[in-house]
């Protein structure tokens, strides 16, 4: 998979991350575990080993290939595993799950070791991005994605065989895999990490439904917050922009002294022809030749020089910079302004981030209705390469809400263990502090109907309304009635 195919993949990922959901579980009241480390949701330093996780996951992929070399057959198996993963636990074909786990025993052993590695080294990808920009190939991401359905099978088997502690260890492996993926310096890596974490948290919800599982409020609280961050992804996007346009890094460092040779110019023109799939650049560059490009640069020269001035280049440099360099630099400066603001907004609490992104969308030309503006860069990198920041923000929010909702649910199980019943309202829970909904900064909506409670995270202000709701319904299991002791004769 290359970065240039990412539009399709991103759409698929967004679609998979943006369905309205209801999670229904039958749960038992549960006190906290005596030793939090036995139920930890990320491998602690004590169980970590020196080594590079990414290298280790590649070995897992090779081991999977050994078991099932036929790609089409593995794709069919993944579909089957997805069905087994999403079915109600009591409806799952235990024999088939066991068969799959047995078949992939070796890769599953290796993934456990990989998840416990101290480092996740994506250096090689940074270098690839620097060289190839959006044409960079990302096979490692796909390889890491195929591991999680196997983990889900393993966790389900543990639960079916009454071993919730082992199942939680598998969840920890899945969450560690997601964190390692999140170190990947691309936004696509960040989104895949969110998808992996989400599947792992679904496994965790299954675990909390097991009667022998203690309240996992503590281990969930102990997770780093935010659990995943788009920070590295945004940084990688920037590197990828420089890698996409040959000579751009040199021009940024020395705009006046860098001379592009004819071959590089031709490559740049070809590149823009390929990338410019929106109205103006496309019509302009389909018949592109030096004349049209020259005209476009001439039109925007003043604006380009002004942009250089604002960026701190001195007058002498601005005067000496060739038009093509100024045009490219103008494009990249506008791109960096947009990307930098998006990246900063992504680190803010959701309501503030959402408002900032609204502001960015209003302010920036790359989000204006299509159509030529004389002062726009001749190379509109912002329009072509800026990521969909608002979609990334929503994906981040959904993951954080999922973690927080699970935390609230586990806090409620702890309350039920103490009080013997669900609380009338969330504010009645005193045993642990419950997190607020990160979308609003207010408590999640809570309703109680007898032994069943519903926790609701309504659609946030931004986004696709009801597609972003998340509802958790918990039904309190009745304590098993003790059978009267048989009298011994």
């Amino acid at each position: 998979m290359s970065l240039s195919c990412r539009v399709g993949v991103l759409l698929l990922l967004f679609a998979s991350l943006s369905a309205a959901e209801t999670v229904s579980l039958a749960v038992s009241p549960a006190p906290p575990p005596r030793n939090l480390y036995r139920w930890q949701l990320l491998p602690g330093l004590l169980v970590q080993k020196p080594g590079d996780a990414i290298e280790a996951y590649r070995k897992v992929h090779a081991a999977i290939k050994e078991v099932e070399p036929d790609q089409a057959a593995f794709a069919r198996l993944t579909e089957e595993m997805d069905k087994l993963r999403m079915a109600r636990l009591e409806d799952v074909d235990r024999v088939r799950v066991k068969e799959i786990v047995e078949q992939f025993k070796k890769p599953l052993g290796l993934v456990e070791q990989a998840a416990r590695c101290e480092q996740a080294n994506w250096d090689f990808l940074v270098e690839r991005l620097r060289k190839s920009g959006i044409s960079t190939l990302l096979p490692e991401i796909q390889e890491m994605r195929e591991i999680v359905p196997l983990l889900a099978m393993q966790a389900r088997l543990h639960l079916l065989e009454d071993r919730p502690e082992e199942a939680v260890k598998v969840v920890a492996t899945g969450l560690s895999l997601a964190r390692h993926m999140d170190e990947c310096p691309t936004l696509i890596g960040h989104l895949v990490a969110i998808a992996l974490a989400r599947i792992s948290l679904d496994m965790l919800a299954d675990c909390t439904s097991h009667p022998k599982c203690p309240s996992l409020y503590g281990p969930l609280t102990d997770l780093p917050r935010p659990f995943l961050s788009p920070r590295k992804g945004y940084e990688g996007e920037r590197i990828s922009c420089y890698g996409t346009v040959p000579g751009l890094a040199k021009i940024a460092a020395n705009p006046a002294g860098t001379e592009l040779d004819a071959e590089t110019v031709a490559t740049i023109i070809r590149l823009f022809r390929g990338l410019s799939d929106d109205e103006r650049p496309l019509t302009q560059f389909r018949i592109v030749d030096r004349y049209t490009l020259g005209l476009a640069m001439q039109k925007s020269m003043k604006a380009a020089q002004e942009a250089m001035r604002t960026a701190g280049y001195d007058e002498e440099t601005i005067k000496k910079t060739p038009a093509i360099n100024a045009g490219l630099l103008y494009g990249v400066l506008q791109y960096e302004e947009g990307l930098g603001r998006m990246a900063a907004a992504a680190m803010l609490p959701y309501p503030q981030a959402s408002a900032q992104l609204d502001e960015i969308n209003k302010t920036f030309p790359f989000k204006r209705p299509r159509g030529a503006k004389p002062d726009e860069p001749p190379f509109p990198l912002a329009r072509m390469l800026l990521p969909a920041g608002d979609k990334v923000l929503l994906a981040d929010l959904r993951l954080q809400r999922r973690i927080d909702l699970l935390r609230v649910a586990e806090g409620l199980r702890q309350h039920a263990a103490q009080a013997g019943k669900w609380p009338e309202k969330l504010a009645d829970v005193k045993v642990v502090p419950l997190p607020d909904d990160p979308a609003t900064g207010k408590p999640f909506a809570y309703t109680r109907d007898g032994d069943t409670i519903t926790l609701d995270a309504p659609a946030p202000k931004r986004g696709i309304s009801s597609d972003h709701t998340l509802t958790v319904t918990l039904t309190l299991r009745k304590p098993e009635e003790k059978k009267p002791e048989e009298k011994k004769p």
């Binding site: 575990p33 005596r34 030793n35 939090l36 480390y37 602690g44 330093l45 004590l46 970590q48 020196p50 101290e118 480092q119 080294n121 250096d123 940074v126 310096p185 409020y217 503590g218 281990p219 609280t221 102990d222 997770l223 780093p224 917050r225 961050s229 920070r231 590295k232 940084e235 990688g236 920037r238 590197i239 420089y242 942009a307 604002t310 960026a311 701190g312 400066l333 960096e336 302004e337 990307l339 930098g340 603001r341 990246a343 900063a344 907004a345 992504a346 680190m347 803010l348 503030q352 408002a355 900032q356 502090p433």
Partner: protein
């Protein structure tokens, strides 16, 4: 402790007529001014290895920097402490030039993409409470050298270059904070304060660009106690000889003579932390008694942890005692780990509860014979306040940046914080409330709100701020 003193002096250090801040336009390119080096500048290397190399270089250049009164060290300290305007620019060279090679290595370390702490983790796991920190380079000197370089640039009127150096210092601080180093956890917070002092000086410079986005995009919390807690757990395992093997096989594991001697020393030290003092020579005797007294509780703890009846019965008393101590220590560390992840007030409440539940003094029923718990509590009680104090300061600095942007837009400071529309304002992290703000005669007062559970380490901060006076018109 040093950080507490520093916080206390923050208010006093401000000039009577207020700290000057210069209006600033929004950043055209947020990547131009960042407070942590970006991936673009990252190099494939190991920060720990580079740190050691930098140490070697500095030792070659200034051999006696740790011993006795050292003029180089004294000069370096004064370059960090003296008011910037009082520093003669010629004073920078004698400090920075001899350290040039080390600084270059520290700069590279700040941009390195990984930190390999495996030497330190191995050592903690092996030696425990008696561990030194062989895997830790002298981060403090590296950070301070970069901070001095930042002051030099600021003195020369180049705030952008000063901020670039501060970003490198902050990167080293974050790396240091991630180390599993249980004893130096407050140091990174203290050094961040020094760096933020210089950042405040930058905010006063008329050519300092807006730092709003640079501050907003810092990872938060900026520093965490996670590394220290992980280090404490490793230290606990290392302190109790054979504990990992005993956990896996309580019946079959036997300690050799060397391990027994280590256990004597560990028992002596741990007992001292619990307020139980005796002569080291009699440690073995006290240990034997303590194990005997707590044996029933140790076996009960094993049963609750899921060991079978047969294993519990067959486990030697010494192994049961070690296991009991390990599990009790991990129980407390787990509680603290979950508590420290909460917001300030509930976190403080829970940490106080853990402290109260395990007082110093004679062993109580249910407590392990080898008293690991009090030692762990002593090491972790100061893991909360310095980190929250730092978050508070970062939030206030971002609010000051919002004031600078507002001043650029309107030409004056706002009458109230709600008047700022140009960017979003942060809340005070520890209290979750907006900062208090007042404008009186051109001077703005920015104050941190009170928290429900005060702590000596979480000082309230007050900033007195004013815009530069307009130049007087010549008649």
């Amino acid at each position: 402790m040093t950080s507490l003193v520093l916080f206390a002096t923050l208010i006093a250090a401000q000039p009577e007529d207020g700290r000057q801040i210069s209006p600033a336009a929004p950043q055209a390119n947020p990547f131009r001014v960042q407070l942590l080096p970006g991936l673009m500048d990252q190099v494939a290397d190991d920060v720990v290895k580079l740190g050691h190399q930098a140490d070697e270089e500095l030792t070659k250049a200034i051999p006696d920097r740790f011993g006795g009164p050292n003029p180089w060290k004294r000069q370096a300290d004064s370059l960090l402490a003296d008011p910037l305007d009082d520093i003669d620019p010629k004073r920078f060279d004698p400090v920075l030039k001899p350290a040039a090679k080390a600084i270059e290595l520290w700069e590279r370390a700040a941009r390195a993409d990984r930190a390999d702490w495996s030497n330190l983790t191995k050592h903690l796991r092996k030696v425990g409470i008696a561990a030194g920190f062989p895997g830790t380079p002298d981060f403090e000197t590296g950070i301070q050298l970069l901070a001095i370089q930042a002051r030099m640039h600021l003195r020369a009127g180049n705030p952008v270059e000063a901020i670039r150096n501060l970003a490198l210092s902050l990167s080293l601080i974050r790396r240091w904070n991630q180390a599993p180093n249980p004893f130096q956890n407050a140091q990174p917070a203290y050094l961040t304060d020094q760096v933020l002092d210089i950042l405040q000086d930058c905010q006063a410079h008329p050519r300092c660009p807006s730092l709003y986005e640079a501050l907003a995009s810092l990872p938060r919390p900026f520093l965490t106690p996670r590394g220290a807690l992980e280090g404490l757990r490793l230290m606990l395992v290392g302190t109790l000889p054979g504990s990992e093997q005993i956990r896996a096989d309580p019946v079959g594991t036997r300690l050799d003579n060397d391990a027994m001697q280590r256990l004597d020393r560990a028992f002596y030290t741990l007992s001292a932390f619990s307020g139980r003092r005796f002569n080291l020579l009699t440690a073995r005797l006290h240990l034997g008694l303590a194990i005997k007294n707590a044996d029933a509780d140790a076996r009960e703890a094993m049963r609750s942890a899921g060991y079978t009846k047969e294993v519990v019965a067959a486990t030697p008393a010494l192994n049961a005692a070690i296991l009991h101590s390990l599990m009790a220590g991990e129980d407390v560390l787990g509680q603290e780990s979950a508590a420290l992840a909460l917001s300030y007030d509930p976190a403080q409440e829970r940490m106080e509860a853990v402290d109260r539940a395990h007082p110093r003094g004679e062993a109580k029923p249910g407590e392990p014979g080898i008293p690991s718990v009090r030692f762990l509590i002593e090491q972790s009680m100061n893991l909360l306040a310095p980190f929250h104090a730092l978050e508070r300061r970062l939030d206030m600095l971002r609010t000051i940046e919002a004031l600078r942007l507002h001043a650029h837009q309107t030409g004056k400071l706002p009458a109230k914080l709600e008047d700022i529309k140009v960017v979003a304002l942060p809340l005070d992290s520890p209290s979750g409330k907006p900062f208090d703000y007042q404008l009186e005669g051109g001077m703005a007062f920015l104050d941190s709100p009170a928290v429900s559970r005060p702590n000596a380490g979480l000082f309230s901060l007050v900033y007195r701020l004013r815009l530069p006076k307009p130049p007087e018109k010549k008649p």
